[in-house]
């Protein structure tokens, strides 16, 4: 919403300066977004110098000029004027500016094959005189003004732009802003001028609101003005329109716009002679087409509100008018519409058609239903004073009455909400000035809500009104108490925090990537999960919710490789989506490691490097290593031979995966995933009490074994067998070599391990040791068909 101080002065009698008003507006919730010098219709036109006026290569009568437009910029402009010559100072119109003479908006265009950036102007084009022969010639005094606007701005006022929150449609008119300022003692709201309009003619044009289902139009007021002399607007009106950032069109159109921004009362003017027989406000018919004033054709469905005549739609109620019945400069007889349209239906319609307009912006927020007549009056008064004409009596069709809202208000709620006692009279005065009518009802008040405030529903809204005007600065800040009733983090959150820092401490850089991903990348990792599509994605590369952290991590790892970083360890901790319902998500920690190809062989990372990172993280998360069970089954995005999963022995909970990623997805890249919820589940099911520590001081002995086993037998099989033989004696098993090749039959491998044997009760003698060794060999041979390697 834009306005100027001198416009505000029409409604507010105040001695306050512009800067004070700006501060106050911020303080009462009307946020000032921008303050800009006022623009007039000539602001865009700047002083420029023709450096070189060359002949146009394809046209004898045209010139192709190199023009200095200041700020070290030189542009090419095609010009037909005879007087365009080297060194001439003149006035330049940049692309986007509007030529006052014909209202044409300049665009970059090709003239006879040469691109022209803007135009050099004659006096008549700028309406400075009727002189249309040749371009303007400025004298040398203007040499230092190149690039600056030629027409100095006589209006010292600024345009103040407010960002009005959607609850305050009343402040989409200057009068509403004035009312708010008056409420905080920033001046007095002036009474609206009593207009004396001579409405002697009969309103003899039929207007009817159809009784359709979901009729958006509650009431439709209109008046007819005959024999007008539509013209260009007078200077004061043009300046108002320009201040709004709009383009003056004609007195009739400018006046309807002016009333809308002045009183927040949208109006529409029809050329009466173009309306066939009558006006009927009805629901649109499916397939009807409206050619609107924005030059677009809109195809309507059957839920929209149209203003129509016997030929069809004339406009979309509350949104935009149609070209067919639009007023023109030679229009003689007009019909002015002042109506009320339902906010919701208006909004739905505009959304469906992707259509925005100043009227729609207001109707969808809620217009004062009682402003129909005053709007017609304001418009009729201005039109007759500028264009003449005779005004008819007003015709008001009503379909639905708007209800007056009354609220019970207990002023003590103000104190309860802000913590400080406030003077009752002050509270009542503020509400009064904002237009509320209060009636005492015992200890409380019955408050009538003004019709221009559709945002007020209950008591708390009144509290807000009072506090807003009193000023939030006046609320005393209360120091927070430092006591805790609940732990800050819950069990799960503590593990999240620990996992994050644990992985980072192992050389991984934490990333935060989108929760969405490219469907094509995600497909590699979704396994059995059904793709979760976003109906309206921001781009086709981010069109699904991710089913794994890998696709995004790999995508960005690839980007870093392109930036020249071959060695990378990245990780992310965050949501992975397994369904489209709220809560169907799990938290995964995913690490990814890649190494450049030019490291020495012995330094090359392998699967055991990534396994180390995973295992150590799990240990740091508080899971005993002896509780791990490694399986070689992993999701399909891992290398089927070089990957594993870790389960807990108790409860069989899957803690995570590790391995090389499948070569069809990416080359030589290792990764791990941790399923955080399962860690937390496991830990909450196991006791925190550690097993009591028993250590033996008797001598321990190590015995080495090398078994030749089938290739498919894995190390864990052997250690499981051995450790289960005698837990009281076998204290530790360490694998120290795995060998295939010479001296080992094909299809077999040798696993060498060291077993630590120790008793808690005595020093074992040679016989004891031989005994247990025999048991080890026998069990292993028996259970997996191994042979002790001699």
């Amino acid at each position: 919403m834009k306005f100027t101080k001198d416009w505000l002065d029409i409604h507010l009698k105040s001695k306050k300066k512009e800067s004070q008003i700006i501060d106050k507006l911020n303080n009462i919730g009307l946020e000032v977004e921008k303050i800009e010098p006022i623009k007039n219709e000539l602001s865009d036109f700047i002083v420029a110098k023709i450096i070189k006026a060359n002949k146009h290569p394809n046209a004898d009568r045209l010139k192709l000029c190199e023009v200095d437009i200041g700020k070290n910029k030189v542009v090419k402009v095609v010009c037909g004027a005879q007087n365009a010559k080297d060194g001439l100072l003149t006035i330049y119109a940049p692309p986007g500016s509007v030529i006052p003479k014909n209202g044409m908006k300049l665009e970059i265009s090709k003239i006879r094959g040469e691109t022209s950036y803007g135009m050099l102007c004659s006096e008549s084009e700028l309406k400075l005189s009727d002189e249309s022969e040749g371009i303007i010639e400025l004298n040398g005094n203007n040499n230092n003004k190149i690039g600056k606007s030629y027409f100095s701005n006589s209006n010292k006022n600024n345009v103040i732009e407010l960002s009005i929150t959607p609850n305050r449609p009343d402040c989409l008119g200057v009068r509403g802003i004035a009312r708010d300022l008056a409420a905080c003692d920033f001046g007095e709201l002036k009474e609206l001028k009593k207009l004396k309009i001579n409405k002697k003619d009969k309103h003899n044009f039929k207007v009817k609101i159809d009784n359709d289902k979901n009729q958006a139009c509650y009431s439709f007021g209109s008046c007819i003005i005959r024999n007008i002399n539509n013209t260009e607007s007078p200077g004061w009106l043009k300046n108002r329109i320009l201040a709004l950032g709009l383009r003056p069109i004609s007195a009739v159109v400018d006046i309807t716009n002016y009333v809308m921004f002045d009183l927040n009362r949208p109006l529409h003017a029809y050329d009466l002679d173009k309306i066939k027989n009558r006006i009927i406000v009805r629901n649109s018919k499916k397939g009807e087409v409206l050619k609107a004033l924005d030059n677009n054709n809109y195809t309507l469905d059957d839920s929209m509100c149209v203003i129509a005549d016997d030929h069809g739609p004339l406009g979309l109620g509350g949104i935009i008018g149609g070209i067919r019945s639009g007023t023109e400069i030679d229009t003689k007889n007009i019909l002015i519409e002042s109506a009320y349209f339902d906010p919701e239906i208006t909004r739905k319609t505009a959304k469906k058609l992707d259509l925005n307009s100043d009227a729609k912006f207001r109707f969808e927020r809620g217009i004062d239903p009682n402003s129909i007549e005053s709007g017609l009056e304001a418009a009729a008064d201005l039109i007759t004073s500028i264009c003449g004409g005779e005004v008819s009596k007003f015709d008001i069709q009503q379909n639905k009455k708007s209800k007056l809202l009354e609220i019970n208000f207990d002023p003590s709620i103000v104190t309860k909400t802000i913590g400080i006692k406030f003077n009752l009279n002050q509270i009542l005065k503020i509400l009064n000035k904002l237009g509320f009518t209060l009636k005492k009802k015992g200890k409380i008040f019955s408050v009538k809500v003004p019709t221009w405030r559709p945002d007020i529903f209950g008591e708390i809204d009144l509290v807000e009104e009072v506090i807003r005007i009193i000023g939030l600065d006046n609320i005393k800040s209360i120091e927070p108490e430092k006591n805790r009733i609940k732990p800050t983090l819950n069990f799960y959150q503590k593990h999240f925090h620990l996992a994050q820092r644990s992985v980072a401490s192992k050389g991984y850089f934490e990333t935060v990537t989108w929760s969405f991903s490219d469907e094509n990348l995600n497909d590699n990792f979704k396994e059995e999960i059904e793709t979760i599509k976003i109906v309206n994605p921001i781009s086709s590369e981010l069109n699904v919710l991710r089913n794994s952290l890998y696709p995004n991590l790999l995508f960005y790892m690839e980007k870093n490789i392109k930036r020249g970083f071959d060695d990378q360890s990245l990780f992310e901790i965050g949501p992975v989506f397994i369904g489209k319902k709220p809560g169907e998500q799990i938290t995964v920690v995913c690490g990814l490691k890649k190494q450049s190809n030019n490291v020495k062989t012995y330094e090359q990372i392998d699967v055991f490097e990534i396994k180390k990172d995973l295992v150590q993280t799990l240990i740091e998360l508080g899971i005993d290593k002896n509780e791990f069970k490694i399986e070689d089954k992993t999701p399909s995005y891992y290398h089927p031979g070089i990957s594993g999963s870790i389960y807990t022995k108790k409860y069989n909970l899957l803690l995570g995966y590790f391995g090389e990623l499948h070569p069809k997805i990416t080359e030589k890249t290792f990764g791990f995933e941790i399923l955080l919820e399962n860690i937390v589940e496991y830990k909450s099911r196991t006791s925190r009490v550690k097993e009591s520590l028993i250590f033996s001081d008797y001598q321990k002995s190590d015995r080495d074994f090398a078994f030749v086993v089938d290739k498919k037998i894995n190390a864990q099989n052997l250690t499981d067998i051995i450790s289960s033989i005698d837990k009281s004696l076998i204290k530790d098993i360490k694998i120290f070599d795995v060998y295939e090749g010479e001296n080992i039959p094909s299809g077999k491998k040798s696993i060498a391990l060291k077993v630590t044997i120790q008793s808690d009760h005595k020093t074992l003698n040679e016989n004891d040791l031989t005994d247990i060794s025999k048991k080890i060999v026998n069990s292993v041979e028996e259970k997996v068909g191994a042979k002790l390697r001699s």
Binding site: N26, G29, E31, T165, P166, N167, R168, R347, K348, T417, I418, G419, I460, V463, E464, I467, L472, D473, I475, K476, S477, I478, E479, P480, K482, R484, T488, L489, N490, Q500, A504, S505, K506, G507, F509, E510, T511, V512, T513, W514, F516, I532, K533, I534, V535, P537, I538, L545, Y556, N560, R563, S569, L570, G574, P575, K580, K581, P582, G583, Q585
Partner: protein
């Protein structure tokens, strides 16, 4: 000087001059060997009278002791010298670079979430979370955002179904709803998390992070709201004083609503928070709307309170001088390394928020 004494002196001289440990060994053999000097001398004792015996024995013993000491010290000296020479040869250029230690980094967003949690922990808030996918009710309806209201324009929502019932939450406020529905007042929570809006330009990303705050109890009023936010902002930016301004605003879920600006100025192209005559909007807040409390089964006759929402990414940008929001999500290795935090740098209330 007797022959014996001469001989002893000879050995002493020899030992004095020797420069090689191996030669010391030879001399030792000459003196202490089976047929060495000392044994030879002791053998002589047998033929002597008792008195002479005593005299000779004592002088031989003394000489033995002296020579032993001398050999030991000489040996030590020579060994030391040898070692020092060896060590001298091993001297390396210690200005060569150290071996690389690979420690990872914590993302600034995670770090800032931890800092925030730490601050609010001090004043009794606990951390709550909610799902990223929400239903329309929790995200809008329960929060008093009517259907087809322009307020919904403020949120360009990503939907997961054509009926617009399931969506990616546009703010962390649905956590308020979930928290209140599952528990009983008082509530004193913060909820950090990912949020999503269909918006992408210089200053907007389709995903960003928000922090929700909610405090509901008997008699919690706007004075508490101001005090709480003032405390938070001061602690977060680690400054003693902060210039703050509360401006009335509008959110469907709070009434009265306010936006909070903090003062700042630009010094040497860097932002200085807390002072200066420029204002920066950093958060929205207000008293929880009675309709929201009713939707969440909280008795508005007894309970009231405040809520606030802050952009976490923006806080991180301000505190750590990061200019581009989009860079948070681009995973550039250089960026992560530069703006990331040491994982050991855990914000705590006893050691402080940042190093």
């Amino acid at each position: 000087m007797s022959d014996f004494e001469k001989k002893v002196q000879e050995f002493k001289n020899k030992l004095d001059q020797v420069q090689d440990v191996k030669l010391v060994e030879t001399i030792r053999a000459e003196i202490f060997g089976k047929n060495g000097f000392i044994n030879q001398e002791f053998k002589k004792i047998g033929n002597l009278s008792a008195d002479e015996k005593k005299n000779l024995a004592s002088s031989v013993n003394k000489a033995k002791q002296d020579l032993q000491d001398l050999i030991r010290s000489k040996e030590n000296k020579l060994l030391n010298k040898e070692l020092n020479e060896k060590l001298e040869k091993e001297k390396i250029d210690v200005t060569l670079p150290e071996k690389e230690f690979k420690i990872g980094k914590i993302h600034p967003v995670s770090q800032v979430i931890d800092e925030i949690s730490c601050i609010f922990s001090e004043i009794g808030f606990s951390v709550e979370e909610g799902p990223d996918v929400e239903n329309d009710y929790n995200n809008f309806t329960a929060l008093n955002t009517p259907e087809n209201h322009p307020a919904k324009d403020m949120h360009d929502t990503f939907y997961l179904d054509k009926n617009m019932k399931t969506l990616l939450r546009t703010h962390t406020s649905p956590v308020q709803v979930r928290t209140m529905l599952k528990g009983k007042p008082p509530f004193k929570i913060i909820a950090p998390g990912r949020t999503y809006r269909s918006d992408s330009d210089q200053t907007h990303t389709p995903m960003f992070h928000q922090l929700e705050g909610l405090h509901i109890d008997k008699n919690v009023n706007m004075g508490h709201l101001k005090g709480c936010l003032n405390y938070f902002i001061k602690e977060f930016f680690e400054v003693k004083k902060i210039k703050m301004r509360f401006r009335p605003s509008h959110f469907p879920f709070t009434e009265p609503s306010a936006e909070v600006d903090i003062g700042y100025r630009i010094e040497n192209n860097k932002i200085v928070i807390g002072e200066g005559d420029k204002w920066l909007e950093i958060l929205g807040c207000g008293m929880v709307h009675p309709n929201v409390l009713k939707n969440c089964k909280v008795d508005t006759k007894i309970y009231q309170g405040f809520a606030f929402g802050i952009g976490i990414d923006r806080l991180a940008m301000l505190k750590y001088g990061i200019n581009d929001l989009r860079s948070f999500f681009e995973c550039d290795y250089r960026w992560l390394n530069h703006y990331g935090f040491d994982p050991l740098d855990v914000p705590t209330n006893y050691r402080g928020l940042s190093r």
